[in-house]
């Protein structure tokens, strides 16, 4: 197998599993699970970080582990707020990477496509590496690509739902058309879902709830790591085609052989 890395902007990732920091029962558990998953990019909600506190529990537990922090703008409702939050994150966490999440709907946390596009355009101009969380909308993905985002992050199902890849038809179109990496974000509830997304040709997946809320986050982190690897290898090896029909035992056209 040749080296199969993922490049986004200036960074190269060996692991195609991105993770999050929310919902863990303790900062320690979070650190252990992330290390076990071998994830190299971990998203952290800016609103959860106490920027004035140098001993902020979450940051202290992530530092020094070869983990790249990906601040996200969770909680903002407009493009304007998102830009403000991104600038705050850049200054506080010393990274120009931003996971752009604009969900004015606090119930299902569904992303606002209009505000996201607006914010993405501004943030790219301000020098950010923009990773937008969006609906599995192929046109929106192309529009975001046009304004210069470095990847797209369409959802597989509503965030935190653990329902798996419900947006399959649209993800397939996005993967087919995209010129930037496609990272399936949200909805992945089981390693099998992650493997499936990778088999489809997703470049990476982002998983948080399914690991954090598991009875054993460390083992679940390992399971996701293996699933993502398996899915990727299978994608590269090309899956055998699925046969929609069984081959008929009494073919309708075999008489042609007799005629010839």
């Amino acid at each position: 197998m040749t080296t199969d890395t993922l490049k986004i902007a200036d960074k190269t990732f060996k692991s195609r599993l991105f993770t999050g920091t929310g919902k863990f029962s303790s900062a320690n558990k979070m650190r252990e699970a992330i290390i076990a998953s071998e994830s190299e990019l971990v998203t952290v909600a800016l609103k959860r970080v106490d920027l004035e506190n140098e001993s902020d529990d979450m940051l202290v537990h992530l530092n020094g582990n070869q983990i790249n922090l990906l601040p996200n703008t969770s909680g903002v409702r407009t493009a304007k707020e998102a830009v403000f939050a991104a600038e705050l994150a850049r200054e506080a966490l010393q990274t120009n990477w931003i996971k752009l999440e604009i969900h004015p709907d606090p119930k299902y946390l569904l992303p606002d496509p209009i505000e996201t596009l607006k914010a993405a355009e501004t943030l790219v101009k301000l020098g950010f590496v923009v990773m937008p969380y969006i609906h599995a909308d192929p046109v929106l993905c192309k529009r975001l690509e046009d304004v210069g985002v470095q990847c797209v992050m369409p959802l597989g199902a509503p965030i935190g739902s653990n329902k798996g890849i419900k947006t399959l038809e649209f993800l397939e179109i996005i993967i087919e058309q995209s010129n930037v990496p496609v990272i399936v974000d949200a909805g992945i509830g089981a390693p099998s879902h992650a493997a499936f997304a990778m088999e489809l040709g997703a470049d990476a997946v982002l998983v948080n709830t399914a690991i954090a809320v598991s009875q054993n986050p460390v083992d679940m982190g390992i399971a996701f790591k293996m699933a993502v690897e398996a899915g990727r290898i299978a994608y590269n090896a090309k899956l055998a085609p699925i046969k929609n029909q069984a081959e008929a035992s009494s073919p309708l056209t075999s008489f042609l052989n007799d005629l010839n």
């Binding site: 929310g22 919902k23 863990f24 029962s25 303790s26 900062a27 909600a45 800016l46 609103k47 959860r48 970080v49 106490d50 909680g75 903002v76 409702r77 707020e81 403000f84 939050a85 705050l88 004015p104 709907d105 606090p106 119930k107 299902y108 935190g160 739902s161 653990n162 709830t209 954090a212 809320v213």
Partner: protein, 367 residues
């Protein structure tokens, strides 16, 4: 259009009858459903559902963990004033109670804040009575301006205000407003609020609408249990919640479960709500709505709160003082009500962590 239009389509006595006529077969059918609606909620809060409480609790626990993870949000109330021009039969700050009145000055507010910050809090709830001349919008705005730099999340529980007034406070950095209807029974409401602006049932009922229109981030709802039958009041609260979620879809919601607590000149509850009832209600809300925040204050006992965090509760307070200046300025002054769980913040933090939950101090930043 406001919630009043929806509210008027329902009749208290009919609802009460429906809730009490629910059978265990009706309840069993609810458990077969994936999506729980208001009709199902009615069944889950019925006496017929009480024997199913363990099943409800298990499901509530699973749903809550999925949505909120293994975390509990911490907040603390800070009483700014006990001045009040309302008569509320159940409240220690009622105008007709002969207590010494007190409104915190700037220096006193900052002294209280210093104490609260040392305990670790980042989310604060400011509380006052209703005295528009002393603690009106300008006082509240001033208080928010004064403390904004020290808290990432500021909420208030004060008198209902007009939409423009809320807009002023929101631009000053206000995140959430808690406004409880107390009871949705109009006649009973009138009995318990005979004097003052609070006696206007309709104005209070439409307060969340004004908040939604003003663009607030979060609205807290609730009924004061003890004034009326908690089951019917809770149905109306849930109805209110569902109406608001549809109408003001950018706003987040929370539910609180205040049960009448003893205070000076206190009132005995008309309808008692037992611990079992409260567990049933908490779980019913979670089954109705996966995303609503459910909050449990220090009104509840140690044991109840220790277990409550597994039942669907997502935020709790600790070490609360219900008198203005109670933390450091005037610790001995008269409280609005006696709290039940007297443990320190540190003890509550340890309790939460020992049960496998992370304590969340900060989950917001103000732009």
């Amino acid at each position: 259009m406001s919630f009043k239009n929806t509210f008027e389509k329902y009749d208290w006595d009919t609802l009460e009858k429906e809730i009490y006529e629910v059978t265990s077969q009706d309840v069993e059918k609810v458990f077969l459903k994936e999506k729980i609606d208001l009709e199902d909620f009615k069944k889950l809060i019925s006496p017929a559902a009480t024997p199913f409480i363990e099943q409800m609790a298990q499901r509530s626990n699973t749903i809550t963990k999925k949505r909120f993870g293994n975390t509990i949000q911490m907040y603390i109330p800070m009483y700014l004033s006990n001045e009040c021009q309302n008569i509320c039969t159940y409240c220690g700050f009622s105008m007709d109670n002969g207590i010494r009145r007190k409104t915190l000055s700037d220096t006193e507010i900052l002294k209280e804040v210093e104490h609260i910050k040392k305990l670790g809090y980042n989310h604060i709830l400011l509380v006052t009575g209703e005295a528009n001349k002393t603690v009106g919008v300008s006082y509240l705005k001033h208080a928010i301006d004064l403390i904004r730099s020290q808290f990432s999340n500021i909420s208030i529980e004060v008198q209902p205000l007009d939409q423009e007034e809320y807009e002023t406070l929101i631009s000053a950095g206000l995140y959430a407003v808690l406004v409880y209807q107390e009871t949705y029974h109009k006649a009973t409401y009138k009995t318990h609020h005979p004097k003052g602006r609070k006696s206007n049932f309709d104005y209070r009922l439409d307060t969340p609408d004004r908040l939604g229109k003003a663009g607030i981030h979060k609205i807290g709802l609730g009924a004061l249990f003890g004034l009326e039958d908690w089951r019917v009041d809770s149905f109306y609260t849930a109805l209110h919640l569902k109406y608001l979620q549809k109408t003001y879809w950018k706003t987040k919601y929370s539910i609180s479960f205040p049960r009448l607590r003893p205070h000076q000149g206190g009132l005995d509850p008309k309808v008692e709500m037992t611990d079992t009832d409260l567990v049933q209600l908490i779980c019913a809300y979670r089954l109705l709505d996966e995303d609503v925040e459910l909050s449990l204050s220090t009104r509840e006992s140690e044991t109840f709160r220790n277990h409550g965090i597994h039942l669907g509760i997502t935020s709790i307070s600790a070490e609360s003082k219900t008198n203005p200046g109670g933390y450091s300025v005037e610790p001995e002054s008269l409280e609005q009500f006696e709290i039940s769980d007297n443990r320190t913040t540190k003890q509550i933090k340890q309790m939460i962590q020992s049960q496998g939950y992370e304590v969340v101090w900060k989950d917001w930043f103000s732009i």
